[in-house]
Symmetry: C2
């Protein structure tokens, strides 16, 4: 799977004013390039964020010390970062990591059902740390199915949340939040109302303090268009907006075309159609780029122009590069739980740790808790 | 809406062996460039296909004779086609068209509900010709909502068909048929089984005589993935394949990535998620091309390379050009009913007439009728 991501540097991270440390749990074994890239991202993040502490679950046959030393040896000698690691590895970096051995780990192809059978694995263990409040958040780069299942079962839902859902940022000219991008294949109108509320709170806390425009994914924009779920959800969300219009501006139904053109800041969907849209975007983006690459290597003339265009295409591709992007948040859980791409390289891991850090510092769960209390009594019959 | 279409010439049209003429009804007023482009496409098709007869519904304030003469005057003088029209306009071309005046027509923004209130409009009229067997098929380039509604209500379903559905060809390296691409927002497993049967018959009659690979659109490929509809439909289609494996090879669940990479020849979906996938492909394709165009005009250097690459990009774009493509078939109706793109230019109209012609000549409805009789007794409890 290829995540189509607009290059978007994680903005200035609001550091905690109370000087409390931020604790994040990471499964060292998650992702295609684990454990090497995970370890590299971890060390870069610790270098950047001095109040970051990590609890790292790892498969006990892995020699993590060797991974650390390999990383340091790869750094350019005489660089500032090389010097820092040489001088402060024992006195700072290693003091801020705790390594937790496990007798098992989850591979990309493991079925979610098998994960909880033997709980002494790196994935379950890291979510148990979150459940027990040993860490404030978890980052995982591995198997999405395993992530969804384990995070919900081990960490549990935030009080009042009917269905936690997967929030993804679609990297168009203006980023668009998609909720749910795949956690709940079967939805009810009240879930979609909760998704609207949670995504808007996320938007205000993390993206911008302005009122987000919110749309409901549909196959047409007239009221009569769509299926039972979209029609009923449209009524329910409209009812909600009549009572509280401080959280988002509801623009009604939107189609994929409106999403691509950032007509809205947030698009709400059931996890089935949200996932179909996300994966259609990703796979078509990959297809078009491959197609162009093939055309530019068709003959010598095309190859020559291809060489000249290389800088331009590199720039274009960087806009669609997932590794600059933080990851997807499992929103509605009793703790911050972030999934980054399975193909995450060290830079993606580092950025995802920054992103998880930012989510923790901004504590969106307390705002969600409060607002969900307010919508308890809004139903279709309102 | 931008239809992402791989350039695909309509293949050699199987002419009728029995020398029967083929009668097609066309609403001259449908489409963004109607009536000019529609008329041009019509005349080109009549020039190409000598056994084609057309019944054309038009808004009675339109001067169709002027449109015809404008077309002829635009043709390059001394060309073969100019000569033909000059010589045979009265004796051949006009003898094969009948113009039917109406006091009204449907615009791109008309709501489907209003169409049947005043039935003396070009759209209802042309479908009445199909219902009354005055024509063998209808081509329409206008408003999709109006097309779906009117074709079902006026023409009616083929005996045994639960839901007619919109069949679209996705123009990837190897074309993939999508059914349903948007006619039925709410579906049941038995509809999806019928879609599988109808799409396979279409494939064998129109695309290739080999056994098509057929997949069911889902958000994962394991059996436990998806919503109730995909899980139940998966069981039902598997049951069917146990009885009859001559129509298609069932590969189970597929994701958008598999569609883009032509892992299947046919993808079956409910009209909601099928439409979301189709529109996501279309709008992302448009987005990426616009993005590239912008980057190539960023500065003088980029513009220069852009000029050099123009030929390559023109070729790439031609692969994604809807106007080379025939149109979407409303399958399961009691007559051939084709919808082409609202932005159809004269070439698209001509190709769509060829496509409609081919569908009529191949008479897929009689095969569908027979096979639906066979699956009547297949249910989930089988």
């Amino acid at each position: 799977m290829f995540f189509l991501r607009r290059k978007k540097k994680i903005e200035n991270i609001n550091k905690r004013e109370d000087n409390k440390i931020v604790k994040i749990g990471i499964d060292l074994m998650g992702g295609d390039y684990a454990p090497v890239s995970t370890m590299e991202g971890v060390l870069l993040a610790l270098y950047d964020l001095k109040d970051l502490h990590l609890k790292i679950t790892f498969y006990n046959k892995i020699d993590y010390q060797k991974l650390i030393h390999n990383f340091i040896n790869k750094l350019p000698k005489r660089s500032k970062i090389y010097n820092y690691f040489n001088k402060n590895l024992e006195t700072d970096i290693l003091k801020r990591i705790e390594f937790i051995p496990c007798s098992n780990y989850i591979s990309m192809s493991d079925k979610p059902v098998n994960i909880l059978k033997n709980r002494d694995n790196t994935l379950v263990k890291v979510f148990e740390l979150l459940r027990d409040k040993v860490v404030d958040g978890v980052l995982y780069a591995g198997n999405t199915g395993a992530f969804l299942e384990t995070s919900i079962l081990v960490v549990g839902r935030l009080n009042g949340v009917k269905r936690p859902a997967l929030l993804t940022v679609l990297p168009f000219n203006k980023p668009v939040l998609l909720l749910d991008s795949g956690a709940n294949a079967e939805c009810k109108p009240e879930y979609l109302l909760q998704f609207s509320v949670m995504a808007s709170i996320y938007y205000k806390k993390i993206i911008s303090n302005s009122l987000p425009k919110l749309g409901l994914l549909n196959i047409g924009t007239e009221d009569i268009k769509g299926n039972l779920l979209t029609k009923e959800s449209n009524k329910l969300i409209s009812n909600y907006v009549n009572i509280n219009n401080n959280l988002f501006e509801y623009v009604g139904f939107v189609e994929p075309y409106d999403v691509v053109n950032s007509k809205v800041d947030i698009v709400v969907a059931d996890g089935f159609s949200g996932n179909i849209m996300l994966k259609s975007f990703e796979s078509l983006g990959e297809y078009v780029f491959n197609f162009i690459r093939k055309e530019f290597s068709l003959n010598i003339f095309n190859k020559a122009i291809g060489l000249l265009s290389r800088r331009i295409f590199r720039r274009i591709k960087s806009y669609f590069d997932y590794s600059e992007y933080g990851g997807a948040l499992m929103i509605g859980l009793n703790g911050v739980s972030v999934k980054t791409h399975g193909r995450a390289n060290y830079r993606a891991i580092k950025n995802s740790i920054n992103f998880t850090y930012k989510l923790i510092v901004n504590d969106i769960n307390s705002v969600i808790l409060k607002e969900l209390e307010n919508i308890k009594n809004i139903t279709l019959s309102f």
